[in-house]
Symmetry: C2
Subunit: 130 residues, 2 copies
């Protein structure tokens, strides 16, 4: 069976609009480039939709496997504790979602972290400002 | 005169070690790739050094212009209000630092934001988890 992949892009959320705008745009870039995946964005704080609503929005898409990915620069309490608790992940970062009455396997991806791509982008922001 | 550029990489900071580790590693990548710039990292909360200490560490480096860049995924209150207040930036994001008794121009770069590089990295994190 060919898997139909879902991506749950998890943003921090904020009372200000920026976090939701950026996470939503990043999700849109992924959707444009990878037309075979189904991507939904959800937020931990203040911004809508919350994770539960974002997960519910996989209904009808036929996803057979979902990766939850924190669109955060670094790990922290949301990533270490809150998201695994909400998603009911085991100690290996594995779980499952109930979508359209089926149990769909769920895995947990790492945040962006220290990557040379990020360093290049920080440097580009510096060049734009100089 | 050829400018000697300093980069003040500003991290959020955290009680957990991850933010400092990631921001410090990103600064190290930039330093490796751009050996002509002087980069110092400082933090807004909980992690050391604070911004003032990071700025003091440009002493003796001969920098003639400094770009302050928030190593944050998105804008928010620290970026809109707190950092400009600490750095005494004008409404155009310009200011100056006193380094070794000289006034050194300071400019303010944007955070990472919604960039296709970030989307590619999020997707890579998904692939690693699947």
């Amino acid at each position: 069976m060919t898997e139909k992949i879902g991506i749950l892009a998890i943003g921090h959320g904020s009372k200000l609009p920026y976090n939701k705008e950026v996470v939503t745009q990043i999700a849109a870039y992924i959707a444009e480039k990878h037309i075979d995946v189904v991507i939904r964005a959800g937020f931990m704080e203040n911004s809508e939709p919350a994770l539960g609503e974002a997960i519910a929005a996989f209904s009808g898409t036929g996803v057979t496997k979902v990766a939850a990915v924190p669109v955060f620069l670094t790990s922290g309490l949301h990533i270490e504790e809150d998201i695994p608790a909400i998603l009911n992940l085991d100690e290996n970062g594995c779980g499952c979602l109930s979508i359209d009455g089926k149990e769909v396997p769920l895995c947990y991806a790492k945040p962006l972290g220290a990557d040379e791509l990020i360093a290049d982008l920080v440097y580009r922001r510096v060049e734009e400002a100089l």
